[in-house]
Amino acid sequence: MDLLSNLALGFGVAFSLENLLYCFAGVALGTLVGVLPGVGPLVTIAMLFPITFHLPAVPAIIMLAGIFYGAQYGGSTTSILVNLPGETASAVTCIDGYQMARQGRAGPALATAALASFFAGCVGTLLIALAGPTLGEWALKFGAAEYTAIMLMALVASAVMTQGDAVKGFAMVVLGLLIGVVGVDVNSGMARYSFGIPELVDGIGFTVVAVGLFAVAEIVLNLESRQAREVYTGPVTGLMPTVRDLKDAAWPTVRGTAVGAFFGVLPGAGPALSSFATYMLEKKIARDPSRFGKGAIEGVAAPEAANNAAAQTAFIPMLTLGIPATATMALMLGALTLQGVATGPQVMHEKPDLFWGLIASMWIGNFLLVILNLPLVGLWVKLLTVPYRWLFPSIILFCCIGNFSVSNNPFDLYLCALIGVLGYVLVKLECEPAPLLLGYVLGPLLEENLRRALLIARGDPTVFFTRPISAAFMIATVVILVVMVAPAARGMRRGT
């Protein structure tokens, strides 16, 4: 069969010593970079750019791709250990992963994250191999109206994100939406909430918000009382997940992979949204939703699977349409172009060794990552036994360096400090940070697409229901709304 012969070609290419080495170098570097907050694949690939001039195309792209999806593996490490997201998409893993670490279950959390990511990575790669071009074409059917409907659905579902007070939780979502507004408005070119400060014209960066809200707030929370607060309370029971853990994590992993693969193909939606979406889904369908936020392993497995699946399928627009959906993809595309590889719909046929070699190496890369990350679990868990008074200044230091590396601008650090103060106050007042982050990620996408859809439809709101895909998501939104409001309404009726 065609597929098998292509795969054979691909594996033949990928298993050469040179390509294996570059694959390993890429994923190892990616993991390291993913662990460090702020420093991400974009900066790293930019640094390595000149090196790719002296490499042939195939090992170059294998290495760069390895850095990209390897970073997703590493991103969850700091999320779980110290409540600090290494990558945008790892923010959701903080919610339950960090709680697991505090209960002495950092080992199972880390291992589950690695295994879920491995499963998702393999499935994602399989999807590219089997249906890459089809998925690429299919993604083109998603226009402004469809994106609006999806974002609206996510917004309505965001009520599920809150553990405690629903009203304050939703207020945090709105606050997040507002923070996302800062910057240039795509549709009009106007800079909003920028106070004449040029650095704010491009908006407030994710790293700034995540570090301030999650890391700084958590650290101050741990230091605030005059008595020592034990940060990591539970005894470390085991490094590996129990059978029970694996059973609990199995289906969430599968569902997370599906959600992640879906969002990954849509250019612009991305791994972050997919991890939020799958978390909300898992919490909603769980038998005991109150476990979420207190260290539920599903809250680690599903988002990790989602962001890895999305990281793989994100390659589809680039490989099959020749269009980079994000800056990182653009860099990789640039590297390929400089090699003389003209990417576009024909790349599969014109350069099969490149295409299939890359796919085969993605599998190998995912495998290498699991082998790399599982033994490290023991090392990371040991790290948590370091006295907190040594740990937290180091965390702050890495946050600072990471933040600076994103934009090379001291302003980002001042802003981060400010958000840290706000974050601490909010967390102290029992307003949860995760909904804010969701609003921050969601807001720009929602507004941009809503206005664009209305602009294209010349102000006609029925467009959301006349287009089939959009209509489907709008109906789903209404259903979710009804499902959420109904118990409350029933309760009120019974109460009167």
Partner: protein
């Protein structure tokens, strides 16, 4: 029952939301609103500010009624030290170089802790600085001046 307003958790939270929501609306007043079907840049922020304000008012009222306190003490001292350490890093990196910035940040951040043992912090500073230089400057080749800045 006399409402207890001091250190009232929801009162402060609600107040914060009201202020932020109100600020959002005020700051957006110069942006063209447009209509619902043809939104201008001011529409979304104004609506959001309004929603935040309403939610804030609700939380505020609820707080006055319930009188629930903020749990634990406020950690203003550690917050100040940590914030200062972040600000100092930004200020020093371009002007003094990676090494001084790292050392200062570590010391200032460590001051936020409950105990401050100078010798320990010194060792930590040396180790972490060496590690940072190795990973960031040498390993990732980020172009930061090590000692002495650009200005």
């Amino acid at each position: 029952m006399k409402p207890d307003l001091r250190n009232n958790r929801d009162l402060i939270a609600g107040l914060l939301f009201v202020v932020l929501g109100g600020l959002a609306i005020i700051l957006a007043r110069d942006y063209p609103l447009g209509t619902t079907m043809r939104m201008g840049p001011g529409y979304f922020p104004t609506v959001l500010g309004g929603i935040l304000l309403l939610f804030g008012a609700y939380v505020l009222a609820r707080g006055i009624r319930s009188g629930e306190k903020v749990k634990g003490e406020w950690g203003w001292r550690p917050l100040a030290w940590i914030t200062l350490s972040i600000v100092l890093f930004g200020y020093l990196l371009d002007r003094a170089g990676l090494v001084p910035a790292t050392v200062v940040t570590l010391f200032v951040a460590a001051a936020a802790g409950r105990e401050f043992r100078f010798k320990e912090v010194l060792v930590l500073a040396i180790v972490m600085t060496a590690f940072s230089v190795a990973v960031f400057s040498w390993g990732l080749k980020l172009p930061y001046p090590l000692i002495g800045g650009y200005y």
